[in-house]
């Protein structure tokens, strides 16, 4: 089942031969797993709800894209709102309150109290 990830394609000659050995080992293991899977009569995966996964990933990426230019406060609001979309039944009013509250709290804690090297406002 580890054949699910692209084994082997990442093989690239690097200095030293260890990466190559390891990659080929992975190819062999992937093949072995696949063979076992086929012999065992295939396999099924339970479906996974994509919505929360996508929302959480997007929230983190969104934070990454905005924090440099727009600052911590706005990036936090965006991240929390996007993440909230991942709930089965988002409660938007509550999400907005949470977003503003968390953004204010984090800005205060990390920006001012601890004085971390993180921009709080747009620049």
């Amino acid at each position: 089942m580890s054949a699910a990830y692209p084994v082997g394609t990442t093989v690239r000659m690097g200095p030293g031969y260890l990466p190559r050995i390891v990659a080929w080992g992975l190819v062999a293991l992937g093949a072995a797993s696949m063979l076992r899977g086929v012999l065992a009569g295939g396999w099924r995966l339970e479906a996974i709800a994509l919505r929360p996964v996508a929302a959480v990933a997007l929230a983190v990426v969104g934070f990454a894209l905005t924090v440099d230019r727009l600052g911590l406060f706005i990036a936090s609001v965006i991240a929390v709102l996007v993440a909230a979309a991942g709930e089965a039944r988002p409660r938007w009013r509550e999400a907005v309150v949470t977003a503003l509250g968390l953004a204010a709290f984090c800005s205060a804690l990390f920006g001012w109290v601890l004085g971390l090297a993180i921009p709080v406002w747009p620049r």
């Binding site: 580890s2 690097g14 990466p19 076992r36 996974i48 709800a49 991240a79 968390l102 990390f110 090297a117």
Partner: protein, 500 residues
């Protein structure tokens, strides 16, 4: 012997300064907090707080981070007993008999047992660290690259043997982890490998990035996707006192649990969880009345609770004495040391005795504090669970993002965290264990370096691993571990431990 006592005295003096006491308390408090809350583990918390430790002296930083780890073991058992909700993976077993005791109106007794057993185990394993580290350190002084390579190989093999799940997948995860560990500029030639032209990847992928993605973000996704764990009805608190019969039953179980936990904790890839499962299995097997297990047997609480705490602390031994992190929590500790420019090595006890012994002594003080934090304040902790997850999870995400950003001010790393989050989710759904991956990821670069150096020193003669006695002994251990895996009886035990 006298040396150890004197050193412990030094450690106590360091740990008992006002500021270190405060950080110890803070760590234990935060640990309890996140131990009580499901959906956030000690690794993610340590990763989130790691950047903040820039501003602390190194000793205080390590004391606090260690406190989070063992504090989480205490906190996790509280919710396991009161609501059948394991706050941490290591307290899954405590749910079985702890919650059963609580339903019979003996919640107080179960909590007291868990706390006292943990405290006892914590005390013993603190002493174990103190006494086991110097000889190990002395031995490690004679280690050459060949020995290090053999030792790390043993670590990886042990990770396969002692984690749950199919061995084939664990091996595959190790190879994949090694591959990820190779990312970055090559140590000797400085050439980029697997960086896809991204300058951010030249230094390799950060341990914090990987663990926060795999353990923090992926967990949030899983929780949101799968719905919260089924929680039992909250049991009423009762008197905390134990009866004489309770003590008589719990005492030997605690002793056995401590021994099992400490033994399994020292092994590379070990830690808190394995010990608790093993201890429960042992208690059930040797009990004269195995049918009571699952219905509120006090041994079923005392043994595993002692084991998980002993395991948590014993896993510090390889890190402190040999400079090798044996699991992802220890990798965090190493990360914290490196932030302060301290390279983990067998020389730590000699070069920085105040840090080494201060950390060890703080563990005992921390355990004492936890006893106080936990027992009288148990009601406060349980109230925490009323915080709904939909408020909690954005906060966790946000702290993760900010934590990563403050390390290098790099937005790319935050994107990487998201990617590892998705990866972690996929692995978990495919039943591929994450622990071997992280361990291989951490050890990979070290192994490569030592392998190359060993080859260089021996002029490419691979028999060097077999002709050096320590290296040979370690490789024999590797072979023994593999043989263990092939034994049918061991496979059965392993499978039942996995099934819980």
């Amino acid at each position: 012997m006298n040396d150890v006592v004197a050193s412990l005295g030094l450690g106590l003096a360091v740990a008992a300064t006002a500021s270190n006491l405060w950080y110890c308390f803070l760590g234990a408090l935060i640990g309890t907090l996140i131990g009580v809350l499901p959906g956030i583990g000690p690794i993610a918390t340590m990763a989130m707080l790691l950047p903040l430790t820039y501003y602390l002296p190194p000793t205080a930083a390590l004391i606090m981070l260690a406190g989070i780890y063992y504090g989480a073991q205490y906190g996790g058992s509280t919710t396991a007993i009161l609501m059948r909700l394991p706050g941490e993976s290591s307290s899954v077993v405590t749910c079985l008999d702890g919650y059963a005791m609580a339903q019979r109106g003996r919640a107080g007794a179960a909590l007291a047992t868990a706390a006292l057993a943990s405290f006892f185990a914590g005390t013993v394993s603190t002493l174990l660290i103190a006494f086991a580290s110097p000889p190990l350190t002395a031995m490690a002084q004679r280690f050459g690259p060949a020995e290090y390579f053999a030792l790390m190989t043993l670590g990886l093999i042990a990770a396969v043997v002692f984690t749950q799940g199919p061995p084939l997948r664990a091996v595959a995860m190790i190879f994949l982890g090694l591959l990820f560990g190779f990312v970055g500029a090559d140590v000797e030639t400085g050439r980029d490998r697997f960086t896809f032209g991204l300058p951010e990847l030249r230094d390799g992928i950060g341990v914090v990035v990987v663990s926060m993605g795999l353990f923090g973000i992926a967990e949030v996704m899983l929780n949101l996707a799968g719905g919260a764990a089924q929680r039992g009805e909250r049991a009423k608190l009762s008197r905390l006192w134990l009866t004489r019969a309770d003590l008589a039953a719990a005492w030997p179980a605690t002793l056995r649990g401590t021994a099992i936990g400490a033994l399994l904790g020292v092994l590379p890839g070990g830690g808190a969880m394995l010990g608790s499962f093993a201890s429960y299995a042992v208690e059930k097997r040797i009990s004269a009345t195995p049918h009571r297990f699952g219905e509120g047997a006090i041994e079923g609480v005392a043994g595993p609770e002692a084991a998980n705490n002993a395991g948590a602390q014993a896993s510090f031994i390889p890190m402190l004495a040999l400079g090798i992190p044996s699991n992802s929590v220890m990798a965090m500790m190493v990360g914290a040391m490196m932030i302060h420019g301290i390279a983990p090595s067998p020389n730590l006890a000699i070069a920085r005795p105040e840090l080494f012994w201060g950390l060890i002594a703080s563990m005992w003080i921390g355990n004492l504090m936890l006893l106080v934090i936990n027992l009288p304040l148990v009601g406060v902790w349980v109230r925490l669970l009323d915080v709904p997850y939909r408020v909690l999870f954005p906060a966790i995400l946000l702290f993760c993002c900010i934590g990563i950003y403050t390390v290098n001010s790099s937005a790319t790393e935050i994107v990487l965290v998201a990617a590892f989050g998705v990866l972690g989710l996929v692995f978990t759904r495919l039943d591929c264990p994450l622990a071997p991956f992280v361990l291989a990821f951490i050890l990979g670069p070290l192994m490569e370096e030592n392998l190359r150096r060993a080859m260089l020193l021996s002029r490419g003669d691979p028999t060097v691993f077999l002709t050096r006695p320590i290296s040979l002994a370690l490789l024999v251990c590797c072979a023994a571990a593999v043989a263990l895996l092939l034994l049918p009886s061991f496979r059965r035990v392993r499978a039942t431990a996995g099934a819980g």
